[in-house]
């Protein structure tokens, strides 16, 4: 899918979410009491967002590449993005399950090989034992320093 069409899809999604929230705003209780009701501001804002987003969809389709000459995000790009978000979300989930030390060590151990695997010039590094030794030291040191600063110094409770 070309760049301007991807933008049209994104704008359409924005319009749909705004339309849903506009309808949801009708359920917000409370009267105006001489001013404006609690539902007024969200209703007006979501209505305008939906309207402007639809206008942008039309502009993207009519103007084509003139509206947005960006190269489209490739399938691989989307896959990398999705994988990165999954890894990051998993890190957050593991923090809530196993605490800071384990999750951060695992994150720092797994993220560099992941980044190497998605970049064409560093793929070969992952197969080398020296790479894993460096990454393990990096993960241990990184976890220790961050633990020292945030948990011991700044008293953040994980």
């Amino acid at each position: 899918m070309k760049g301007h069409l991807q933008e049209a899809v994104f704008s359409l999604l924005l319009a749909l979410v705004a339309a849903f929230l506009c309808v949801s705003a009708m359920d917000i209780p409370g009267g105006a009491h001489g001013s404006i009701a609690p539902a007024t501001f969200p209703s007006v804002i979501t209505f305008i967002i939906a309207l402007l987003a639809i206008l942008n969809v039309i502009a993207c389709i009519l103007k084509g590449k003139k509206a947005n000459n960006l190269p489209a995000i490739s399938r691989q790009g989307f896959l990398n993005l999705a994988l990165f978000i999954v890894l990051s979300t998993a890190y957050v989930w593991v923090i809530s399950m196993a605490g800071f030390l384990v999750s951060t060590f695992l994150y720092l151990l797994l993220m560099p090989p992941f980044i190497c695997l998605i970049s064409t010039d560093r793929k070969g590094h992952v197969a080398k034992p020296a790479f894993w030794a460096r990454v393990t030291v990096f993960a241990l040191l990184g976890t220790g320093i961050i633990y020292g600063v945030f948990v011991e110094l700044l008293k953040v409770r994980f």
Binding site: Q6, F10, S11, A18, L21, S24, A25, I28, P29, G30, G31, A32, H33, G34, S35, I36, P38, F41, P42, I45, T46, I48, I49, L52, A53, L55, N56, A59, K63, K66, N68, L70, I73, S74, Q76, G77, N80, L81, F84, I85, S88, T89, V92, I95, F100, T104, Y107, L108, M111, P112, I115, I118, S119, D121, R122, G142, F150, L154, V156, R157
Partner: protein, 496 residues
């Protein structure tokens, strides 16, 4: 005067100075790395300021801002890649000078010009902000609503090439600001029975998500091609401040500092506009305009003094009116609000020592910026060799820990990731993230003040146009909106 004396005591403590210096150092490092913006640097360091007193925390963030803007000149000079958007004009002459084998000379001029620009704007800030705040004390609810509309319209108009996209981004911010318990009626809006959303969307996950996580995601997609890390081929000669050479161009230094401060004070104008305007002005004033673009010191002086003067200028509307002019000051304002301090005219009357402490801290940050660059410029050159791809992993980790550190609510961390995804797509399709943050900050101000204004006027909407200051703000906002619309149409018309 008493406030100033008290403020001096708040700043000149060894641990406060150390923190300001540390913030400046980190800002310089982040600014030197291409793609890490000043707003991102401040957002990343924001969680560290929670336990600090306001002057100390703001001093650190101001140091980060000054450092990031000045640090942008390192990669602009050595790699021809501006570290921050405000260093774009610096590349025009600093890089050609570096290619001649005079990278140290170019950086030496950058150091002095940045310092002079920063100090100039600090002086203007401390002289102009109090009378502006004094005037703003006359503002009532109608004026505040009009001012919020004015700020939002301007930033939505200038932050994107398309007015529609800028407005959508600003309105998304306003919409997010409505989440939580309604402050007047006490009813819940868009909370979806989530306890973490009862008090509204926390500003920090939004700031870090939109400015830092979105950049990491951009790198993940962009680096799929896997280009090698860029290293400078330019050799460094002695990089020390070139005082005499820079001060020789005192007219350029002065005019660019003035332009930078004025442009900074105009909401939405941004750093690259200020430095290009100054560069253009310096070229017109110069006796040797043909040398511009070939590695001419005057060009470097103009760009660097202007982009650092912009910082002080941008603080004027933020501190006096509570209207941040661009992304970095919006994040800075978020930092103040997280500490429980609302920027605006009352800040000057209620917390005089804090506000003057911030002025002094800004001045001190500029001195640190000079000293750190003076003795450590070679270190920032080394920073350019850090593998960017591994840096992404570390940045994301700091984002997660920073947001979690606030109230140990894991929901806010997921929220930050969500904002990161939203920010990535908003940036990619040129909607911009600065209007979202501005909307998020101005939303509650706009809504609560329009409600108060209508209550006071008995539901009469004409209060917005019968009060002169409110009318002026609304008229200027409308004029700006139509001007941008006209400009957009002109750009899309084939004849123009």
């Amino acid at each position: 005067m008493g406030d100033y004396v008290e403020a001096l005591g708040l700043v000149f403590q060894w641990h406060v100075l150390l923190v300001i210096g540390g913030g400046t150092l980190l800002g310089l490092i982040m600014g030197a790395l291409p793609g890490l913006t000043a707003a991102m640097a401040i957002a990343l360091l924001l969680p560290l300021t929670f336990g600090m007193p306001p002057v100390m925390g703001m001093g650190m963030l101001l140091g980060t801002l000054c450092g990031a803007i000045a640090g942008g000149s390192v990669s602009a000079t050595l790699l021809n890649i501006p570290g921050t958007p405000s260093s774009v004009a610096t590349t025009l002459d600093a890089f050609p000078m570096a290619r001649r084998g005079e990278a140290g000379r170019a950086l030496g001029i950058c150091i002095v010009a940045s310092f002079v620009g920063g100090v100039f704007s600090a002086v203007v800030l401390s002289l102009l902000a109090p009378p502006i705040a004094d005037f703003a004390l006359r503002f009532g609810p109608a004026e505040y609503f009009a001012l919020s509309v004015f700020g939002l319209v301007i930033i939505a108009s200038v932050s994107s090439k398309s007015l529609i996209k800028g407005l959508v981004a600003g309105l998304i911010g306003l919409l997010i600001a409505t989440v939580g318990t309604d402050p007047v009626a006490g009813v819940q809006r868009y909370t979806f029975n989530n306890l973490s959303l009862l008090t509204g969307v926390n500003l920090l996950p939004a700031l870090i998500g939109l400015f830092a996580v979105s950049q990491v995601l951009k790198d993940v997609v962009d680096y799929f091609g896997g280009g090698p890390v860029e290293h400078s081929k330019n050799k460094m000669d002695h990089a020390r401040p070139r005082w005499l050479e820079t001060l020789r161009y005192w007219k350029v230094l002065l005019s660019s500092s003035v332009i930078g401060t004025i442009v900074g004070a105009i909401p939405g104008a941004g750093g690259s506009i200020g430095s290009f305007l100054s560069y253009d002005q310096a070229k017109k004033m110069s006796k040797t305009p043909e040398k511009f673009g070939t590695g001419h010191p005057e060009g470097i002086v103009a760009s660097e003094s202007s982009n650092n003067a912009l910082v002080g200028g941008a603080l004027i509307p933020m501190l006096t009116l509570g209207i941040p002019g661009e992304a970095a000051t919006a994040v800075l304002m978020g930092g103040l609000m997280i500490q429980g301090i609302s920027p605006g005219p009352t800040l000057f009357t209620d917390n005089g020592s804090i506000i003057y402490g911030i002025f002094i801290a800004f001045f001190v940050a500029n001195i640190f910026m000079l000293l750190i660059q003076w003795f450590g410029i070679r270190m920032f050159v080394k920073v350019l060799q850090v593998p960017r791809k591994l840096l992404m992993a570390l940045i994301l980790m700091f984002c997660v820990i920073g947001v979690y550190a606030v109230d140990a609510d894991i929901f806010n961390v997921y929220l930050m990731l969500g904002f990161g995804g939203l920010g990535y797509f908003l940036n990619r399709y040129d909607f911009g993230t600065a209007p979202v943050i501005l909307g998020l900050i101005l939303g509650p101000i706009a809504e609560s003040n329009i409600r108060r204004a209508l209550m006071l006027s008995g539901g009469d909407w004409s209060v917005l146009v019968t009060r002169p200051i409110s009318l002026v703000f609304l008229l200027v906002a409308a004029a700006f909106l139509f001007f941008t619309l006209w400009q957009n149409r002109r750009q899309t018309t084939p004849h123009s």
